[in-house]
């Protein structure tokens, strides 16, 4: 039986949105899928050697907040300095407590399972990023290269 294929485009660079691509890719690999993730725009943050991913309550009315803050705390208050850092710390603590893997761990599991990680060369240039900022073992390519794999994929997701 030929392996099924999963193609994912990861476009977001926040802590919460880092989860779907890495969870799905690592699980798919465990199920025998040949998997590729194409990282573009803010998704490139997920390939940095040192991850600085944060979660923001701003513009995110669906985010559950401690002490029911989402019900009574003024939205403008969420823009206060330090708020994002605090929310990120709280989110990370909660995840640890609930046995949710860190992004570093999930990324490592993806690499171990031979998930192919591809950085969008155009965005790397656009943001003046340097290849030395990224982890090793990744590829740099463009849209056409993505379609070569995605065109044959069984599942194709845009995150």
């Amino acid at each position: 039986m030929e392996d099924k294929k999963l193609a994912i485009i990861a476009t977001k660079g926040s802590l919460d949105w880092a989860y779907p691509p890495f969870i799905l890719a690592s699980t798919a690999a465990a199920l025998g899928y040949e998997t590729q993730i194409f990282f573009t725009f803010y998704g490139l943050q997920l390939l940095k050697k040192k991850l600085h991913l944060e979660v923001t309550p701003l513009g995110n009315p669906g985010m559950p907040m401690p002490m029911g803050m989402d019900k009574w705390f003024p939205v403008l208050g969420l823009a206060l300095p330090g708020m994002q850092g605090m929310m990120t710390t709280m989110m990370k603590q909660k995840m640890k407590k609930k046995g949710v893997a860190s992004i570093e761990e999930l990324r490592e599991l993806c690499i171990e399972a031979e998930v192919k990680l591809i950085a969008c060369q155009m965005t790397v240039d656009l943001f003046d990023m340097d290849q030395s900022e990224f982890i090793g073992g990744i590829e740099y390519a463009g849209a056409a290269a993505f379609f070569e794999f995605a065109g044959e994929s069984d599942i194709c997701l845009y995150v």
């Binding site: 969870i23 699980t27 465990a30 199920l31 609930k98 949710v100 893997a101």
Partner: protein, 76 residues
């Protein structure tokens, strides 16, 4: 509880870690051997069923006991 060759305690781990750990443990086992997995994630019940169907490793048993979920998987 039936006999098994290896045991994996995935208690306290959440999706997708129990599946990933199970996959890794199975990789080091030989065909026909049985892996006993213990998990606390309620989502793992459906997940191990789906894992078994998609990988061909047979799910011999799936049950809840003492607030934990137990799975017996036979490596294909």
């Amino acid at each position: 509880m039936a006999d098994f060759d290896q045991e994996l305690d995935a208690s306290g781990l959440n999706c997708p870690l129990p599946i990933l750990r199970a996959k890794k443990t199975l990789a080091g086992m030989s065909s026909g051997q049985i892996l006993h997995i213990i998990a606390t994630d309620p989502g793992s019940v459906k997940d191990f069923d789906a894992f078994s169907k998609q990988t061909g490793n047979e799910l011999l048993e799936s049950k809840e006991e003492g607030g934990k979920f137990h799975f017996m998987i036979k490596k294909a």
